[in-house]
């Protein structure tokens, strides 16, 4: 369902219509679902285009829709300080290959948040300069925010470090 109520979405549909799966503005949050290969381009456009100027990547997270295909969904929340408007961008990633382009080149704030998503969901970010776990330690097995990671799982005890 395409909802063109938001001029932002209208603009995006006009210029990058073929890169989008769908758009909606439910609950007042303008949302565009982007095809993953086009993500970097769309994001670059949103950041640099005069009139859109999304200069802040406020939030970046993922959702695990276990049982659906594509399973993972990347969710980005953009904010424009200059124009005071918001936009949500989503992209679905398949379970077999959860890889998406890193946005660290566009917004520095993506760095830690992408590391967090990598840590908790196991989604890899292509082009990230330093992709390693951030909240959990290296010895942790699995990605706890995946729905199939049991909540009661205990992390393996840390072995004493070999001298």
């Amino acid at each position: 369902m395409d909802d063109c109520a938001s001029p932002l979405l209208r603009r995006l549909l006009d210029t990058h219509g073929s890169a989008l799966h769908a758009t909606h503005a439910r609950l007042g949050d303008a949302t565009a679902i982007v095809k993953p290969p086009a993500l970097l381009e769309v994001m670059g456009f949103l950041r640099d285009e005069p009139g859109l100027e999304f200069d802040m990547l406020l939030d970046l997270t993922a959702v695990d829709h276990l049982g659906e295909e594509p399973r993972f969904e990347m969710v980005y929340h953009l904010y424009s300080l200059a124009r005071n408007h918001r936009l949500r961008i989503k992209a679905r990633l398949p379970e077999s290959e959860p890889v998406v382009a890193s946005l660290t080149g566009l917004w520095a704030s993506a760095d830690w948040m992408e590391r967090e998503v990598f840590d908790l969901y196991g989604i890899r970010f292509e082009g990230h300069p330093d992709l390693r776990r951030i909240l959990l330690d290296e010895s942790f097995e699995g990605h706890p925010l995946r729905k199939d990671h049991p909540k009661a799982a205990r992390r393996p005890p840390v072995e004493p470090r070999q001298a």
Binding site: D29, M56, D59, R88, W107, S109, I134, H149
Partner: protein
């Protein structure tokens, strides 16, 4: 928390080249519970003499799986968990979460409830800033201002206790309402305590603001320019200190903030001194807001503080004891919990540290599919290496303090 590829052996250079004899860099581990890191965080610092060459911030020591836990709880049961995000301003976390759920449910809370929420939120913000300024002084070896700051915070928390029943883990805001209405005698107590807080703030100001040692340690240290703030999505007082007047209470007014009279303080340089001044000014503004709220609540007179929506609010207790219908409703509400319509929503409020957002996804059942908290501390901490690279080791302390990283919120 990971020790990754950035860890190098002492003396080993980034490019793997052999170091010169006198240029040997030192690796210093600071934290995770260094007394001067008032959050649990570890710094891996590469030092050249006393100046910082590079810094790796390792967070995650207080990771408790907030999001995972919420996914297995009913919406209602998540509220006490949000208390534990930012223990300095728990009400603001309660508020952010509940308002996000209300957004999904598309309900509007009654006017009195909105004023109460603003009142509680500002009390909480005041406590947060007082702790930040006080604790920072302590870590700069100024014990007395710390005591004044903490005394003022305790007074503010007295008000919080009157209102919510707890000083720290308030569990005050409910989906579609608040837990308690104003207790009797609150206005008088608030007038009293706020006067004391003001006088303590004056003393605090007299001791530190123009004190040479304090100014020398804060001025021009930890500078983060406007552009860097924006690139790193830094929000809150840190961003405002850099000169950007972004305050969601003004820019996207929620609750009744559009009816309140308050100013947005901004700095010019974006160093620690500006951050300190912005925080102090924000406390004055919060005091003003609290007073306006108390007046307004007095003028509004008694009224409902909850919406009458059986989906979210449990029936009034009095009726549960008497009526069969309400009893059944109570059983249903508690055992099933509110069912939130399928969908997603992001709602952000201005917390004491910046934009506190909640992104919720529901599939129409009793349990959330996803509860994402956009933690301001986490994002504000990220550019720390940028702020201290090239600075002295001692500058790391005030810089880190004025970022006010809260472990619970940063690591969730």
């Amino acid at each position: 928390m990971s020790t990754g590829p950035r860890l190098r052996l002492p003396g080993e250079r980034k490019d793997g080249a052999q170091p010169d004899l006198h240029a040997e860099h030192q690796i210093l581990n600071m934290g995770p519970s260094h007394p001067a890191t008032h959050g649990t965080v570890k710094f891996l610092i590469e030092l050249d003499g006393e100046s910082i060459v590079d810094l790796d911030v390792q967070v995650g020591y207080v990771h408790r799986g907030f999001e995972k836990e919420c996914e297995s709880r009913s919406w209602y049961q998540c509220i006490p968990y949000t208390d534990r995000l930012n223990y300095n301003s728990a009400i603001l976390c309660n508020l952010g979460f509940c308002m996000a759920v209300e957004k999904l449910l598309e309900i509007e809370t009654p006017e009195r409830c909105q004023w109460l929420r603003v009142l509680a939120g500002e009390i909480s913000r005041l406590g947060d800033h007082l702790t930040r300024c006080g604790a920072s002084c302590l870590e700069l070896q100024a014990m007395t201002p710390f005591l004044y700051g903490i005394e003022a915070r305790e007074l503010v928390w007295d008000l919080q206790e009157m209102l919510c029943g707890a000083r720290v883990t308030t569990n005050y805001v409910r989906i579609g309402g608040v837990k308690h209405d104003l207790p009797e005698g609150f206005a008088a107590a608030a007038g009293d305590l706020l006067a004391k807080v003001r006088s303590l703030l004056r003393d605090f100001d007299a001791v530190v603001t123009r004190n040479r040692i304090f100014v020398d340690r804060l001025k021009d240290t930890g500078v983060l320019s406007k552009e860097d703030c924006i690139r790193h999505a830094v929000t809150g007082p840190v961003l405002r200190a850099a000169g950007v007047p972004l305050d969601l209470r003004k820019d996207e007014p929620y609750l009744v903030y559009d009816q309140l009279d308050f100013d947005v303080p901004v700095g010019t340089v974006g160093d620690n001194y500006d951050r300190y001044l912005v925080c102090v000014e924000e406390m004055q503004q919060s005091l003003r807001i609290v007073e306006q709220c108390v007046d307004r609540l007095g003028a509004l007179g008694p009224g409902p503080v909850d919406v009458d929506d059986p989906r979210v609010r449990w029936p009034a207790k009095g009726r549960v004891f008497e009526g069969m219908e309400e009893l059944i409703q109570q059983f249903k509400s508690v055992t099933e919990g509110p069912k939130v319509p399928a969908g997603e929503g992001y709602l952000a409020i201005e917390s004491a540290n910046g934009e506190l957002g909640f992104y919720l996804v529901s599939d129409g059942s009793q349990r959330p599919v996803k509860v994402r908290c956009r933690p301001p501390s986490f994002l504000n901490l990220q550019p720390l290496p940028l702020m201290v690279r090239g600075a002295m080791l001692a500058d790391l302390i005030p810089t880190f303090d004025f970022l006010n990283m809260i472990g619970g919120e940063c690591d969730r």
